[in-house]
């Protein structure tokens, strides 16, 4: 029996759904993402997700920061001093100095370190309240413009964009540790939080290997992408996939999406984009494969994704038992307890 880890052919059936529809999910092809963030807005409009803070993060064009209770879609922007396949970034031959990426990343990192919650408030609260004055990249120049720049200090460049979302794991850590039954596996094989049941215990937050699920500040309840459970039940696409202008986010039956992704990967490899790879596609990975998987153009860490996610329930049933005890404790207390701390 492999219900808690490894490949699982019939994830909905395993969760008690008989005569269920095929498993559905997202294939996000980041190689065609234009970073417009339509997915973030369409998701919020449909699901009435609250606004998530008005802070300029300095992380390229990303001012959302990370997935959370109030951001169920998150578009990451990565500026890199390398090139994609045969793409010509156009900077060769210009009088450039060294790349500014190390310094800008350093400035962002310094802010994150100074933040009380280590960055988990990204995009939600101003970061940090008393931030140290940013340091300039070098000494102010008194020279003529251009004198400080050497020739062709940087030539390679690319700008990656990727829309992240809950992975709707085959073995979902959040679901496995939920003591109240608020999280459940739908007939589509997706994982949904039921707000009418969630008591805000927060176990799911630490149960998620991707750092996706999060509790909302005002009521403490867990929130994340539902893969638009209400929409797909009526034959509609999830809001994000429907809006996506370039079809970077594709919704459909998981089996078909995997085939499509394999074809796209082969096509990119043929075009010389050797660094293209699929992430979350493999049913043998630590979470039994993701319902929402990705085509990436670099290592997952580059996009803020864990390289080798493991469902925290790999060593269950101990965790399950503990979750059960916690649930009992909640019932005895008769109140909802709120676990202090952030998402991580």
């Amino acid at each position: 029996m492999n219900r808690l880890y490894g490949p699982l052919d019939d994830v909905a059936g395993d969760a008690g759904h008989v005569e269920h529809p095929p498993r559905v999910g997202f294939f996000t092809d980041t190689s065609v993402c234009i970073g417009c963030k339509a997915c973030e807005v369409a998701c919020k409009e449909w699901n009435a997700v609250p606004e998530d803070g008005l802070d300029l993060l300095g992380m390229s064009f990303d001012n959302t920061g990370m997935l959370g209770a109030d951001s169920w879609r998150h578009v990451a922007f990565v500026e890199q001093a390398r090139v994609t396949g045969r793409q010509d970034p156009g900077f060769a031959g210009l009088p450039t100095g060294p790349s500014g990426i190390p310094e800008t990343a350093g400035a962002v990192e310094a802010r994150l370190e100074a933040a009380p919650r280590g960055g988990s408030e990204l995009g939600t609260e101003p970061l940090p309240p008393g931030r140290p004055e940013p340091q300039a990249l070098g000494m102010p120049g008194f020279d003529r413009p251009g004198d400080l720049t050497g020739a062709e200090g940087r030539t390679d460049f690319r700008w990656l964009m990727a829309s992240d979302v809950c992975k709707h794991c085959t073995h979902a850590g959040c679901l496995d540790v939920c003591p109240t039954g608020a999280l459940f596996r739908t007939e589509f094989g997706t994982v949904v939080v039921q707000q009418d049941i969630c008591n805000g215990c927060g176990y799911c937050v630490s149960g998620c290997p991707y750092g996706v699920i999060d509790r909302r500040q005002h009521d403490g309840r867990a929130n994340k992408c539902t893969l638009c459970y209400d929409r797909i039940g009526d034959g509609l696409e999830p809001a994000c996939a429907k809006a996506c202008p370039t079809d970077s986010i594709q919704f459909g039956e998981l089996d078909e999406l995997r085939e499509r992704a394999d074809r796209r990967l082969a096509q990119l490899h043929d075009l010389g984009v050797g660094e293209a790879r699929l992430y979350g596609r493999d049913p043998d990975d630590g979470v039994g494969g993701d319902g929402a998987f990705f085509l990436l153009l670099d290592e997952p860490e580059v996009y803020g994704l864990p390289p080798d996610p493991h469902v925290p329930t790999r060593d269950a049933p101990a965790m399950w038992k503990r979750a059960g005890q916690a649930a009992a404790a909640f019932l005895l207390a008769g109140v909802a307890a709120f676990v202090a701390g952030g998402r991580r």
């Binding site: 219900r3 909905a12 059936g13 395993d14 969760a15 008690g16 759904h17 008989v18 005569e19 269920h20 529809p21 095929p22 417009c36 963030k37 339509a38 973030e40 807005v41 369409a42 409009e45 449909w46 679901l175 496995d176 039954g181 608020a182 999280l183 459940f184 596996r185 739908t186 007939e187 949904v192 039921q194 009418d196 049941i197 638009c228 459970y229 209400d230 929409r231 797909i232 039940g233 009526d234 034959g235 509609l236 696409e237 809001a239 429907k242 809006a243 996506c244 202008p245 594709q250 919704f251 459909g252 039956e253 078909e256 399950w320």
Partner: protein
């Protein structure tokens, strides 16, 4: 996958919501993570678009691509705006601004009462809409008169006023621009401009 393909894959005549949900409390879902855990509220959940009283065909009000929108109305309130997949221009897709149309139309930022600032005032005051229209008409007639130019220095006919000007139109309907231009032209007002110049 487009909506149509998706519908086709599950049988267009039977919405998925009609599928039976089996709450197998024993046997099929022993861990209580699926069917057995589903709350009544989540059984047969339908999208709010399904209960709309009507759907209006519209067009996104932001840029000039002209993406088609479907506006869902229930109880005389707009409950959802999303792309119309039938459009050969947009195929149902919307950018972040277009996707925020619902907030644009229904958000608390919308003005709903006339605001009036008297000369030298430091605050807004309220003003009845029809009274405002009467006041504006008075001012238009006066400004037109004040800025009237019958002939130029060489005696050529000008037949116009420079007392009033207008700016705007790129966000308005053709029919609206038509009436505005027609009215202003008949009044002899010539300084009528819009974003197309900018």
């Amino acid at each position: 996958m487009g909506v149509r393909t998706w519908l086709g894959s599950i049988g267009a005549s039977t919405p998925l919501g009609a599928w039976p949900v089996y709450r197998q409390l024993t046997g099929a879902d022993p861990l209580g993570r699926g069917a057995a855990a589903q709350s009544p509220k989540h059984v047969g959940l339908r999208p709010r678009t399904a209960s709309a009283d009507r759907v209006a065909g519209s067009v996104c009000p932001f840029c000039a691509v002209g993406c088609a929108q479907k506006v869902y109305v229930r109880d005389e309130e707009v409950v959802q705006i999303e792309g119309d997949p039938d459009s050969p221009i947009s195929r149902g897709r919307l950018c972040p601004k277009g996707s925020a149309s619902l907030q644009l139309v229904t958000g608390p930022q919308r003005l709903d009462k006339v605001r009036y600032r008297a000369p030298y005032a430091t605050e807004w005051t309220e003003l009845d809409l029809h009274e405002a229209m009467e006041m504006i008409a008075d001012r238009v007639v006066a400004a037109r008169e004040r800025g009237w130019q019958e002939r130029d220095a060489q005696g050529r006919r000008l037949n116009r006023t420079v007392g009033l000007a207008a700016l705007g139109g790129a966000t308005l309907d053709n029919e609206e621009n038509y009436l505005l231009k027609k009215l202003f032209t008949a009044m002899g007002a010539i300084q009528i401009e819009n974003q197309a110049r900018i």
